[in-house]
Amino acid sequence: MAQTVVKIENLVKRYKELIAVDHFDLEIKQGEVFGLLGPNGSGKTTTINCLLSLLDFDKGDIEIFGEKMSPTNYALKKRIGVISQNVAVYDELTVYENIDYFCGLYITDKQIRKKYVDDAIKFVGLEEFIKFRPKKLSGGLLRRLNIACGIAHKPELIILDEPTVAVDPQSRNRILEGILELNAQGATVIYTSHYMEEVEQICSRIAIMDKGRKIAMGTKAELKKMIKNTETVSIEMDQPDDSLTDQMSALPHVYNVEYKDGKLYIYCSGGKHNLIRIMGVLQQEDIHFGRVYSELPTLNDVFLEITGKQLRDSE
């Protein structure tokens, strides 16, 4: 059985009257890419900062690699790499110097450090920019430098707190691929984001947070099973009459039909061949329609069904 890397029990963090983290429990196993998903202000970063012993918390226990985490547990800190949502590099140092400096806070041996720094530069693809100062780098390259500074010492646990904020899609994909590569090399990863697509793409297990609470946790499949919706069919068409919506509602597995923004939405719960049956009705009634989409539920649907609000509306 895989070793427990992170264990958080009953964590509570208050800012005066506001409860930022509310009795939060978590257990992450070695080799996982664990996603912490939630809208802005849901308590993801606060949880991470408590985990890292940066923030004082009111209640709870935190263990990393089976040891109690504390600000002076330097041996434990050596095994952790942190990439925060704010870029934390020196403007006055070059790309190489920045990575060497931060790696040097973990690795004292110069020979090993040099190799690690070279590996990190190669890993994030900044070979051509080693003599550049951060101000000369684009947003995406800067994020990559930020990541290199956090992972150069080859940590066993990597914590990435919204590393793709304000990053172009190309750089974002590269970052996500890199995270999977780090995981493949043996690192356990904790990834926080409010972008559900990213979390869906790379995380093996996900905890969804809202208002400081963990509202759901599991694999993607487990999370999606928690909700009623299994398929949403949307059809571009003119406003349908009542008889058509009644016919659609009467189809097997359909539990809701609604028309909004020029589309007819048919929500299905379970079953197979829902789309074929819906198309059959449209053909039978000789209805003109445009594009048809069949979508499986997303984590946003999970969040929506549990909290009654959209993940992105909360941003």
């Binding site: 800012y15 900062n49 890292l52 012993s53 940066l54 923030l55 004082d56 600000p71 002076t72 330097y74 041996a75 800190k77 050596k78 952790i80 942190v82 925060s84 704010n86 870029v87 934390a88 590099v89 020196y90 006055e92 140092l93 110097e97 400096y101 931060f102 040097g104 806070l105 973990y106 004292t108 500074c149 956090g150």
Partner: protein
């Protein structure tokens, strides 16, 4: 670990544009400006040198009396005036060539011609006024009480002839050097900006860099102390550059105890950096707010030490806030340079040095106490 931090802290500090501008370029520019603005004032007008004066004697009787007074005055070691007897044409020529500061015409009474109005011409005017006044007293006494005339004449002649400059000490009394002391104090105080970053770059709740360092396995005290040492080294380099420029390029007379001037400048730099460290450690203001606080406090303290108005320090000394001059780091720095340059003994200088050392220790201790936290209530 310390060496690794120290190396990069030095590198970072030397590449901070603000440090280059405020600690190297700005003092060089301002020092040059001071030299251009004040450098010649002292040499030409303030520094006490004998005022060379042409004398054109038009009256034998008046000339005899004047020569008697003039000879008495010229005998003195600290004689204010030296007189050259010549004719009017030559006197005017000498005045035009600035060989003499003025021309005294001796008739029944003295009259004066000067080329420019400055301190030396004013001294000549006062002398002529005094001479004419006393001559009138002697004339009046001769008419009213001839018996006392000898005593009066002797007394008045001595009064005029004993007018002389009294040097305050044997040191350099150029009052404009005060501006260069203030300039050095300002360079030291602007070092507070570098000290400020020591605090903000190591505090997890003040900057992302601080947070990154706090989650690393390097003890906080190591990063802070290496950072402080690097800041001190860079500050010392800047102070040495400033002093060297002032002494060798601007040729400001900093006295004959130059090694101590350098040491004092370096110590002053440490005071400035420590002040920045303590300001950076206070509260949770943003880095830009703290930058503004640092610049404002540095300028205010320099203002109170006389950077913009040389008289302000005296005004503070005469007010009920006289104690402020004793604790204002900028004023103490200026005082230490002044004491080194002026006084023979080291009593006042050592008082300043001890005050600066205590200031450094207090600031660093306060800063360390405030930055020692390892966990934060909020980020």
């Amino acid at each position: 670990m310390f060496r690794h931090n120290f190396k990069y802290d030095i590198l970072t500090s030397l590449r901070v544009r603000e440090i280059i501008i405020w600690l190297i370029i700005y003092p060089i520019a301002l020092g040059t400006f001071f030299k251009v603005a004040f450098g010649n004032i002292y040499d030409n007008d303030i520094k006490f040198t004998t005022v060379k004066t042409a004398v054109v004697v038009n009256s034998q009787e008046g000339g005899k009396a004047f020569k008697q007074v003039a000879e008495t005055m010229e005998k003195d070691d600290d004689a204010m005036f030296s007189f050259v007897y010549t004719d009017k044409e030559d006197a005017l020529k000498q005045l035009k060539n600035e060989d003499v500061r003025g021309i005294i015409y001796v008739d029944s009474k003295l009259s004066l011609t000067v080329a420019t109005n400055n301190l030396k011409s004013t001294m000549l005017e006062r002398f002529v006024e005094k001479y004419n006044l006393n001559a009138k007293i002697i004339t009046d006494t001769a008419k009213s009480d001839p018996a006392k005339m000898g005593d009066v004449a002797k007394a008045l002649t001595e009064e005029v002839s004993t007018v002389k400059s009294e040097a305050l000490s044997k040191g350099n009394t150029n009052m404009y050097d005060q501006y260069f002391y203030n300039l050095l104090a300002m360079v030291a105080m602007f070092g507070s900006l570098a000290g400020l970053h020591v605090a903000t770059h190591n505090q997890g709740n003040l900057s992302p860099l601080g947070a990154r360092k706090c989650v690393s396995p390097t003890p906080k005290i190591t990063t802070i102390l290496s950072n402080l040492c690097a800041t001190f080294v860079v500050q010392a380099i800047c102070m040495v550059i400033a002093v060297t420029f002032i002494i060798t390029v601007l040729r400001v007379d900093m006295g004959d105890r130059i090694p101590l001037v350098y040491l004092t400048a370096i110590l002053s730099g440490f005071v400035g950096s420590s002040l920045g460290f303590v300001i950076g450690s206070i509260g949770r203001f943003s880095e830009s707010t703290k930058d503004a606080m640092c610049t404002a406090s540095s300028l205010l303290l320099c203002f109170c030490s006389g950077l913009m108005d040389a008289g302000i320090k005296q005004k503070i000394a005469e007010s009920s806030f006289a104690w402020f001059n004793k604790v204002n780091p900028a004023a103490v720095m200026c005082e230490s340079f002044f004491s080194l340059n002026i006084y023979e003994d080291y009593t006042r200088y050592l008082q300043c040095v001890v005050t600066m050392i205590i200031t450094i220790v207090v600031f660093i201790t306060l800063g360390l106490l405030m930055t020692r936290r390892r966990k934060y209530a909020s980020l």
